[in-house]
Symmetry: C2
Subunit: 339 residues, 2 copies
DNA sequence: CTGAAAGCGCTAACAG
DNA sequence: CTGTTAGCGCTTTCAG
């Protein structure tokens, strides 16, 4: 172990071990047929010199860089960071490293980043979306595999990994039904969002399967707490018999919880609540802590990483729309009706 | 504009333009003395072939990769993402790209990542901390410049960019005093956290300068809403005259707001509130929206990026502890006392 | 079992 | 003004 003056290259290692560079290379990479004694000698020479092989040089030769680009569009990282973690898992922290590029939702920036990534010869690109609406495919049709995560590409020929949001809603509603709720309402985000519509559909499906009906119409609004509070008040007025609310997001859920409390309804005794996102700060800050549908974003990232890796290895192109299921995380807001 | 079969290299461009590779290189990089007509011919050949120069090959030659490593330790990215953005700004999205490595607070992972980054020959490394306690320097003493952001290195010889948290507290308290508050309490996180202690010190200093005293002792606890709610109730009981609370975090601030409301105190009419972090979801979800001390993390990242760049260009090592000031973001929770 | 030599894609002298 | 040549640091045939 040492840190010498300049950069130590494989030639230095070879010299110190008294072998040729070719031999040194083989010894270090476990390739070829070498006497074990030679291997050991090279290895210790490398160690003593603090030799760190250059991935740059290796890439030039092999054509693979063992790097991928991760394009994110949500600067707060609520969606893209879990995706990054999953991708890191799949890529293996020993293998590939990820260039993370935050486009800040600007197509120009995105285009620049793609060019930058191509110049760096990344082996592939993961595009992490911020909403679930299909997004335009990367412009410039990069010559490497691309996998879209969370927000699928508008081009069905592309490879996308998405969350089954409708099934997530089903999970939530089935849970409410199973715990004894019968008068279930749904407060969610803007009608213009695919996520909101998918959850409405899932809710309807689950209720139908249980032989129930939604209490009134879905309450479309925003994704915010303010909307949740407002909706809760209106909801109680319109349907006093409500005994559960499936909320389109944790923020809404929190707002609804506060709103209900202020109307004199107890959660979960009078009304059970389930949210979506399972976002720690919100779900656990809620009073009481909020049962929530986890979007499994890390799994989305892991799947995306795995698909990308396969595409890279098979020299092919990734294709198809892959779906990841949601997961229900039960907390106090949906305790069974003890009645 | 085209996408041909394999990879098009500069030899292909040169061939198509009817010049040698050397000339093509010069034309494309604006180096050397060339007839404008030749330059143009090469450029259009490159364009028609969809030529994307290989940064890998260039790096091998020049020794610089125009990439940096960004090591983050907080998987939720609340601290490291703003730092990343700032760093991106400083590095220039056209210039350098960042490998983002999430160590998940595991020293082993960190060590592996550092090795990975060194093998990729990054030009420098930024280490984004998660807490403000000094952290052990990167092991293995990388041969490239390293800048620590947010959490400074325990080795004072290293280069660190930190937030002046004490000054941030002064900002908050001065604001409260200026808006007419006189009975100011302080609810904050664990005594074991340097951040909590720095804010306590800043609070004391600002009050002293205003000729005031803290109302009772600082309330050390956790960073959570739960703690804020609890503390608010206890505080009102212990010091009914309280007319302002400086909270060590936005989460605490939110808890205090709820707690106070439930004790029958109005915010800001009876009690003004200021938090720290200026974390959108919490600060704006608060009722009323919470005035907060912004830690200027993006600026921390920008400074770190700039210092790193300088160190890289001057081939030297970055040094010194650099401090970034906080910024107060005023919202409804601290409206002036209209009394 | 080990060494020598070619070359990955590009740039930078130096010739012409 | 343009072409030729020699590598950057490494892996990999192919001889020895």
């Amino acid at each position: 172990m040492a840190d010498r003056r300049a950069r130590v290259g494989i030639v230095d290692v070879a010299a110190r071990a008294g072998v040729s560079v070719g031999t040194a290379s083989k010894a270090l990479n476990g390739r070829g047929q070498l006497r074990e004694e030679t291997r050991a000698r090279v290895r210790s020479a490398a160690y003593e010199l603090g030799f760190i092989p250059s991935a740059v040089a290796a890439s030039l030769l092999t054509g693979r860089t063992y790097t991928v680009g991760l394009i994110m569009t949500d600067h707060h990282g609520r969606f893209s960071l879990p995706i990054l973690h999953g991708a890191e898992d799949a890529l293996g922290w020993d293998e590939a490293l990820a260039f993370v590029c935050d486009t800040r939702d600007d197509p120009i920036r995105e285009q620049h980043y793609v060019r930058s990534l191509m110049r760096r010869r990344v082996d592939g690109i993961i595009v992490a979306g911020r909403r679930t609406e299909p997004r335009p495919p990367l412009s410039g049709a990069p010559r490497v595999p691309v996998v879209y995560a969370f927000a699928r590409s508008a081009d069905p020929a592309d490879c996308s990994v998405v969350v089954d949001e409708e099934a997530g809603a089903v999970l939530a509603v089935e849970h409410l039904v199973r715990t004894g709720r019968r008068h279930i309402a749904h407060v969610t985000g803007p009608h213009g969002h695919a996520s909101a519509r998918a959850r409405v559909d899932g809710t309807a499906r689950a209720l139908r399967m249980a032989g129930l009906e939604l209490l009134g119409d879905p309450w479309y609004g925003g994704w915010s707490e303010v909307w949740g509070r407002f909706a809760a008040a209106a909801l109680v007025r319109a349907h006093p018999e409500v005994d559960a609310v499936f909320c389109g997001s944790d923020a809404i859920g929190r707002g609804v919880a506060d709103g209900l409390r202020e109307c004199g309804r107890r959660v979960p005794d009078d009304v059970a609540l389930v949210g979506v996102d399972n976002w720690q700060p919100t779900a656990e800050g809620c009073r009481p802590p909020l049962t929530s549908v986890d979007l499994n974003l890390q799994q989305v990232g892991r799947t995306a990483g795995t698909l990308l890796l396969e595409a890279i290895q098979h020299g092919g192109v990734a294709t198809g729309i892959h779906t990841v299921p949601c997961r229900l995380v039960v907390r106090a807001s949906s305790a069974p009706l003890s009645g």
